[in-house]
Symmetry: C2
């Protein structure tokens, strides 16, 4: 079974963390049967933290965990912090495949999506 | 003529600001003739700042400026700081229509885009 773990920075604003949880719920709805578990975790500030989020996926039976960074640029968080958390859990669970997907800002489709947002509210 | 101004936070990491500039260039390439000007600006730290970015669009002949927030959540920056900068410029240029598009995280298409990113590198 495959799990998808959306990973965001975490904010002191509860509403921002809730946006991430809502987004994970929408991912769950839209992902059909591609993932048996779809959940979210945070790099810092909010709960669950990434190691705990990965642990929960495995506890629910995931043999594969796709960690999906909800970040816009390849800063230290994407380049170092998330891989460090993942490597730690991978070492504890050599039988589970934990993979980091490209961060959102690197996704091909971000350009058409931005153009779509730019047209929102436009007079037709 | 219409201008599209991609607005990001701005980072101390030059590479992150460069990612935003590169993204603006890709937007320019993909937007066809919908915008006569496609550029980027930053809320803080990097140059140009938002007021200067809007000013440059107007100097290049824009009668309409679409400000597109490259942000993932509706925090203070999206809810207060960007609207404040825009309102200041709008007051100086009542003849130009300056409009704020939905921030990236609010775009409908972000969910399918995340699922696409999750599948990247996947065995087919």
């Amino acid at each position: 079974m495959k799990a998808l773990l959306l990973v965001a920075h975490g904010s002191r604003r509860a509403a921002s963390n809730q946006e991430v949880r809502d987004l994970a719920a929408r991912l769950r709805d839209l992902s059909g049967d591609r993932f048996g578990v779809v959940d979210c975790a945070f790099l810092e500030i909010a709960e669950p933290l990434i190691p705990e989020g990965i642990e929960r996926c495995i506890a629910r039976g995931a043999q594969e965990v796709v960690v999906l960074p909800y970040f816009l640029s390849a800063g230290r968080h994407v380049a170092e912090d998330i891989p460090r958390d993942v490597a730690g859990k991978q070492a504890e669970h050599p039988d589970v495949a934990i993979r980091i997907a490209p961060y959102l800002g690197a996704a091909e489709g971000v350009v058409p999506l931005l153009l779509e947002a730019a047209a929102t509210g436009e007079a037709r």
